[in-house]
């Protein structure tokens, strides 16, 4: 019963958290660019407006796919906090991301299609890390669910410093920040226009935004897993990491896909893989 309550709590609180985070992000980004910036609640106004706007439905499949994207994203978080096996959570997370790729690929625009191809590339770059991270967390805590990891006396972050470094890099992809925002970006000022979301309008785009808020909250949940001594500490660590991402976003240009794939794989192998290898060597 309590687990179901946690799941419901995530579904309700996560978008609020993600939206506020996006609002704060926009203010900080604006200040870094010496602009005044929008109000904190601007992302909510935007999504509200998107829901009111006319949606151009290009084909009958896109809307179900995007709805599925939002639902799966929310479900991933809900499953995580309600005690599903963490490896399973990672796979559901990948499936949720894949639905967005399918929705973008089903559109007719070449921009959207090329964006979908690039999103596949970034999934290819980020997924191995998430599986490795979850496996490592489960290994060091000897637990397989969110609650059990939090209850574990082992301090995960101390055991997995390499994973932490790689997490920062991969989170750049998931938060769609420069230099890794190749498939779509917040600014729609790239060679693929808005890439993945080029062909989405009205409520379809609102679904993507909403799913992104869930995704931010989910990543925050991952951070809590890494800093498992207390939930506020995990959230605090995530906010610090997010601020660092915003800074990186503002001091780099967008990389090409070859570099994105190469650098994230090198980071996954070197830091995350090396970390896990070291655990096995030391643990023996």
């Amino acid at each position: 019963m309590t687990l179901a309550f946690y799941a419901l709590l995530f579904v309700i609180v996560a978008p609020v958290f993600g939206g506020l985070l996006a609002g704060a992000d926009r203010i900080v980004t604006a200040r870094m660019q010496s602009r005044v910036g929008p109000p904190l609640l601007q992302p909510f106004y935007d999504v509200g407006k998107l829901f009111q706007k006319q949606s151009r439905l290009l084909n009958p499949i896109q809307e179900p796919l995007l709805l599925g994207h939002v639902v799966m994203m929310a479900a991933t978080g809900a499953m995580m906090v309600s005690g599903t096996d963490l490896i399973l959570v990672t796979f559901v997370f990948a499936l949720a991301s894949l639905l967005l790729v399918l929705a973008a690929g089903s559109a007719y625009s070449p921009y959207s299609f090329a964006g979908a191809e690039r999103e596949l590339i970034v999934l290819l770059a980020s997924e191995p890390f998430f599986i490795l991270m979850m496996a490592a967390i489960c290994k060091v805590t000897d637990a397989s669910t969110f609650g059990a990891v939090l209850a574990s006396p082992t301090w995960v972050a101390f055991q997995l410093p390499g994973i932490l470094i790689a997490f920062l890099m991969v989170a750049t992809i998931k938060l769609r920040k420069s230099p890794f925002d190749i498939s779509t970006s917040h600014h729609a000022h790239q060679e693929l226009v808005s890439g993945l979301t080029s062909d989405m309008s009205g409520r379809l785009l609102a679904y993507v935004e909403l799913a992104h808020w869930y995704e931010s909250a989910l990543l925050c949940g991952f951070a809590v897993l890494l800093f498992n001594w207390s939930i506020p500490l995990g959230i605090g660590a995530f906010l610090v990491a997010y601020a660092a991402e915003v800074l990186v976003d503002n001091v780099t240009s967008r990389a090409k896909w070859q570099l994105v794939l190469r650098s994230t794989w090198v980071a996954t192998l070197l830091f995350a893989g090396g970390n896990v290898l070291a655990l096995f060597v030391v643990g023996r």
Partner: protein, 137 residues
Amino acid sequence: MANPLNLPMVPRALRNVVSRPATRRYPAEVRTPFEGARGKIEFDVSTCNYCMLCARRCPAAAITVNREERTWAIEHLRCIACNVCVEVCAKKSLAMSNEPRKPHTPADSRDGHRPGHEEWHGEAPDAAVTAARGSGA
């Protein structure tokens, strides 16, 4: 390859966070226009002698003058603020204000209203007109 951790924009970005933004909240906070800025044309109907020189020299054909009915009209949306009419006006009836025109909204064109259209009606023709006609041609 260059060192990926050497990011020269970082100090600038951090400095921007703590310093005052360069932009302003526009409709709420408006910059005072510069001294010599060309904003909009202002017309003084009392001194005009309806010589039509401004209308003839206006490159954008924004000014219409009717000598018989003594009306002077300008379409501000056509006006390119080139200052030519002000330069040619012998009576100094025209002036260039440095205040820019306010932007128009759809509400301005309701009820058949023409946005940007301004019209002046002078007093009834008198002896001055005949004099102007003589010299204006």
